[in-house]
Amino acid sequence: MLNGDAPVLDVRDLKTVFRTRGGEVHAVNSVSFHLRPGELLGVVGESGSGKSVTMMSLIGLLPSPPAEVRGGQVMFGGRDILKASAGELRRLRGREIGFIFQDPMTSLNPVFTVGFQIMEPLRKHMGMRPEAARVRAAELLDLVGIPDARKRLKDFPHQFSGGMRQRVMIAMALACDPKVLIADEPTTALDVTIQAQILELVKDLRKKLGMAIVWITHDLGVIAGIADRVMVMYGGQVVEQAPVRALFADPRHPYTRALLQTVPSVRGERAPKLKVIEGQPPLLGAHPTACPFRFRCDKAHDRCGRENPQRRVVGAPGHDVACHWDPDGAGLAAAGLTSEGVVNG
């Protein structure tokens, strides 16, 4: 821990491997991060960088086989939930950790009414009577901005628009008042005007309910608008982590820098040419012993091929980066290492 309150969720050295016919896929490699109460942690990274697998590993949502969580520790509520039984995990997911999936249609059951699906966890995990559960379900739909909430409880998922289904998903995830909400690309499939509605809603709900949130997205604009802190993933590793302003103002990893330059904006100056990150994502066939970004990195040198860089503290408090290169010159990097040491999460 660097500073602030004790974390609600503290993940250390998480490692997840898929065993496939073509060999092993090392999807998550020694990922460490923490989440403080009430905080919104944004997670960005290119497709396949391990964002979803990381979050699904820590709450036991990956089918095994092919997935295998090979190591690490996930501290939640004073214990390591990687050691929890399947039953305990299920209870945890219903009550204390909410999850929103990218595609609402895959996680809403088309044959049950929306009301039934919101009421079920309330009855199962909170022991509510049907009538109390119905009242609470209507409250939740109302909270996420669905008009005529009480009447809509009787409707089936297909009777809602995409944006409304996403709201229903949020209502379900909030049903039991979780301490932590994990949202995996919750607005990617939505139009910008609907996305703007959902983002306003989330800001509002955070103020009202004060839960901690992990928000996975590939959209740096969304991150800039709602995150307190950002974690950048590449090749199954955390390559940079910083408070949101520090990350955008002073990115330290060459991948983060390139990523920030590839996205055009609708406001401000228009760049005449888009910056490109050449090359391909890494193959993840084995545990990395070198920097996964080195083939695409314009700052790479021999050390990057010999040694996978550890995360180290740089710049502002709470900012760390896993890279051998130092934008301020070699002297400062050494100073950072000796004064603050290697970061763990």
Partner: protein, 358 residues
């Protein structure tokens, strides 16, 4: 923004009052009970070597417009002139002769590439169909195209699954280029790609345009990419074009309340400005194109709606050189309206809808 040279050049593509309605049928006999007005009276020009960006929310009719312009459908009505030839009502057999000059690049590079064909076969397919060239001549052209889109010639005998998303999109672009087209409809060509690869494909499209003098209709829901690539932008809402303007003017000073809401909804990749942007949060969802509202299509969600908007459909007017908008707020002949040219119409009702909505 009016380009004096432009007035003297003929548009390469001229679309007038284009309509594409899909029948809705019910019951055993498939009786026609109505129509989905996917595209309902769309007009625009595209100048040679220009990129017209087309934006709007899911289901507003962008793809249908793109496909209809290439006559992949038998259209419900309207006129389409490409290079001076009217193709709106042309029969599919007569169209065959014109197909080579107009091509399409699709959203999902995976879905439209036959997995059993090699890269050379895929790129050569249009040549097989439309030319009687010898094998050697075709192969020469295939190599030329692979060079043009940045695919290594050694890949010629590989299959699509061996390529990344960005490379597959290059294959799609090479195919579209095979017959030397002058006009290409790019339907969400980067939507399926990772952000870091999107830039590669957009840069390639720009390079090719410069080298080969191509004209693009670039369909996308990514407003920031469209700002990058397009010279002019058309904004669609529920089957209609609500605003067309040169890029700079549109992004600096959107006129239609829908364009204003759309642009203000795009999150900014910068935490400093993210706090400052005044967001217009629209209430509700887009109505169904099978049952559009009376009057202006946007009246059910418009923050600046007036009584007239629920009665009369606004006409498209040129309110400044090159700037077209279909909105009563910008029509001087509508008594309740505010004079044209104002950047924020109906101030009071707009601010009511600002931010922190429930």
């Amino acid at each position: 923004m009016a380009d004096p040279a432009r007035a003297t050049t003929e548009p390469l593509v001229q679309v007038r009052d284009l309509k594409m309605h899909f029948p809705v049928s019910r019951g055993l006999l498939g009786r026609k009970t109505g129509a989905i007005k996917a595209v309902d009276g769309v007009s625009f020009d595209i100048m040679p070597r220009e990129t017209l960006g087309m934006v709007g929310e899911s289901g507003c009719g962008k793809s249908t417009t793109g496909r209809a312009v290439l006559r992949l459908y038998d259209i419900t009505g309207g006129s389409i002139r490409i290079n001076g030839t009217e193709i709106g009502q042309m029969s599919q057999s007569a169209l065959r002769k014109h197909r080579p000059t107009m091509q399409m690049v699709f959203q999902d590079p995976q879905a439209c590439l036959n997995p059993r064909m090699t890269l050379a076969g895929l790129i050569g397919e249009p040549l097989d169909e439309h030319t009687g060239w010898s094998r050697a001549r075709k192969l020469e052209r295939i190599y030329e195209l692979m060079d043009a889109v940045g695919l290594n010639r050694n890949f010629a005998n590989r299959y699509p699954h061996e390529f990344s998303g960005g490379q597959r999109q290059r294959i799609g672009i090479a195919r579209a280029l095979a017959l030397n087209p002058s006009f290409i409809v790019c339907d969400e060509p980067i939507a399926a790609l990772d952000v870091s690869i999107q830039a590669q494909v957009v840069n390639l499209l720009e390079e090719l345009q410069e080298k080969l003098g191509l004209t693009y209709l670039f369909i996308s829901h990514d407003l920031s990419m469209v700002r990058h690539i397009a010279t002019r932008v058309a904004v669609m809402y529920l089957g209609k074009v609500v605003e067309i303007a040169p890029r700079e003017a549109l992004y600096a000073d959107p006129l239609h309340p829908y364009t204003q809401a759309l642009l203000s909804s795009v999150p900014d990749p910068d935490p400093e400005t993210a706090q400052q942007v005044r967001r217009i949060i629209l209430k509700g969802d887009v109505p169904s194109p099978a049952n559009p509202p009376q009057g202006c299509n946007f009246c059910t969600r418009c923050p600046a709606v007036m009584p007239v908007c629920r009665e009369i459909e606004p006409e498209t007017r040129e309110v400044a050189p090159g700037r077209f908008v279909a909105c009563h707020l910008h029509d001087a002949s509508v008594p309740t309206s505010i004079p044209t040219g104002g950047p924020t119409p109906g101030g009071a009702s707009t601010t009511n809808q600002q931010g922190g909505s429930s």
